[in-house]
Symmetry: C2
Subunit: 324 residues, 2 copies
């Protein structure tokens, strides 16, 4: 079996290029892969020179431009042909790599992938799937890619999410829940109620509507919703963890044991440590991570990307959508 | 000034009638009010006999029926004319009381109030306003009364919520935020974007779109959204607090100091301790609390009800909606 080849956006993220490159090397030591580091080549070389990379298959491709956080992603991707994220997607498109990993602007990653690869047949709304904080094996899709959806999109999120957690995370026959304002089948808004009927009629392991507490309590493996609600649920969770841990620390600021516990839990629930999340429904594999990601998150994303390639995730999704 | 008269649903809630009555007595000792306890009169008398009530103005009105948690609220309210919550609303309707407090089924409270009093002129969607857990002075409206809303409903939630936190909670010129999937004005779904324009054109102290973390971080005093999103945000918050505190406790189960801290925080964020929430937009004042509420929450609800009556909340809302 030929080695899996990954394109790493070395210019994306708050700690690029050093932490990205350190993470890439970590990943390359753990797995038999070929890496292409894409970004400002002089910077990459300088950063690489500080590591022992003997025996690792690491390439560099120069991409002098970067897309800033405040740029409109679609515009930027069309204008900056030499942006690292665009070049990464081109490498996959030209069959020099099987997947892209980026800790840069998530919107730009999504736009570059869509622009370069297009959607899978039958998909008009790709969805972002993320673990719900660091609680349990619960994943949320769509975590924010689509503000408005149709029932069919929610069904597709569920199909794609189910395959992702099965093939990449390793959860057999995952439980699928539809996020709603009640657990009864007739709760939810009009789109949700129609999505419920589609999910019920599907081959998925659908457990019905789940309420907000299902996310932290892990009552399903994949919780599906529109990207508006998903984005709010995601950011609410992040803010609440931070807020509650701060409250805990402030009860006894001099207590070092308590401070250590708070720091551990903060780290456990921090998206900067939770790897990178794929956008599902695009005709290619891209994993976008938090911009504060450091080396271990990059290495974690490499692991996920490898499992997605080895598990044939893209073809499995293509086939499942065709059959649905 | 005549004393404020409150109708208390003595049969509603998991700890009815004893905790409801204990809370009512606590409230009557703190404030110069007249209370009518509504429920099964023999039970109420038996419970009252265990307290010293000399000098307190407490009346009993017999209402032999109760609405159970699993009953359809609208049907139950129409069929059970002698249900305690229905009789409470009747008392206000017949000018024997100024407000109702109930820890019974929230849906039944809303249905009874709507059925007996009707909506305020111009309101087609009354909204439930709740404090967002026990963090700061941040209130969420609509916390779950309406699954589908129009932009105009969101504007009305904001107008009513602003008056509530100003007159009852005592926050001057409250900051109003619209819950969205980004902070920029052009984020949000179609309904939200239209609501943004209405809020922007209003006299409210509108700070624009706020993201999910604004709820626990207290970035606005009133955060408005539809009842679908609001319900999910509410239950997600409750579940996350419980989940995170459980994780903390499990790191060191034998640590009594940690267990005490966890219990304190759990209590601080528990809706059973957070008083009762009004449904705004109905032509009358009703405060519905968590069914696990005990005496201190009932007394807290009495304080809120008094401030709502004294502050002329209902007329203020009526006038503001007319002017909007």
């Amino acid at each position: 079996m030929p080695r899996i080849r990954l394109a790493i956006d070395a210019s994306g993220g708050d700690y690029a290029p050093d932490e990205i490159i350190a993470g890439a090397i970590l990943g390359a030591r753990q797995h038999p892969i070929e890496l292409t580091l894409v970004g400002q080549s002089e910077q990459i070389e300088a950063s690489l020179s500080r590591h022992a990379v003997d025996g690792l298959a690491i390439d560099i491709v120069d991409a002098p431009e970067t897309i800033e956080l405040d740029e409109d992603p679609t515009l930027a991707v069309r204008q900056k042909k030499d942006a690292s994220i665009v070049v990464c997607c081109e490498l996959v498109h030209e069959d020099h790599a099987e997947a892209v990993i980026s800790m840069g602007q998530a919107g730009a990653g999504l736009a570059a992938a869509l622009f370069t690869w297009g959607r899978l047949p039958g998909v008009d709304r790709p969805g972002l799937i993320v673990p719900y904080l660091g609680f349990r094996d619960t994943y949320l899709i769509d975590a924010g890619a689509n503000t408005e959806v149709q029932p069919q999109n929610i069904l597709q999120f569920a199909i794609m999410g189910s395959l992702y957690v099965e093939r990449v995370i390793g959860i057999t026959n995952p439980l699928i829940g539809l996020l709603s304002n009640g657990s009864a089948p007739n709760t939810g808004n009009a789109i949700g109620q129609q999505a419920y009927a589609l999910l019920q009629a599907s081959d998925l392991n659908f457990i019905g509507n789940v309420e907000g507490f299902a996310l932290p309590q892990g009552l399903a493996n994949v919780i599906v919703t529109d990207g508006f609600t998903g984005n709010i649920a995601l950011k609410l969770g992040e803010g609440l963890v931070t807020g509650l841990l701060k409250q805990i620390e402030e009860t006894d600021p001099a207590n070092e044991q308590l401070a250590t516990l708070v720091n551990q839990l903060q780290a456990q629930h921090d998206y900067a440590n939770l790897g990178a999340a794929p956008v599902l429904g695009i005709d290619g594999l891209i994993f976008v991570g938090h911009r504060r990601s450091k080396a271990p998150a990059v290495a974690g994303a490499i692991g996920n990307a490898i499992r997605a390639v080895e598990g044939g995730l893209l073809n499995a999704i293509r086939d499942a959508l065709k059959a649905a």
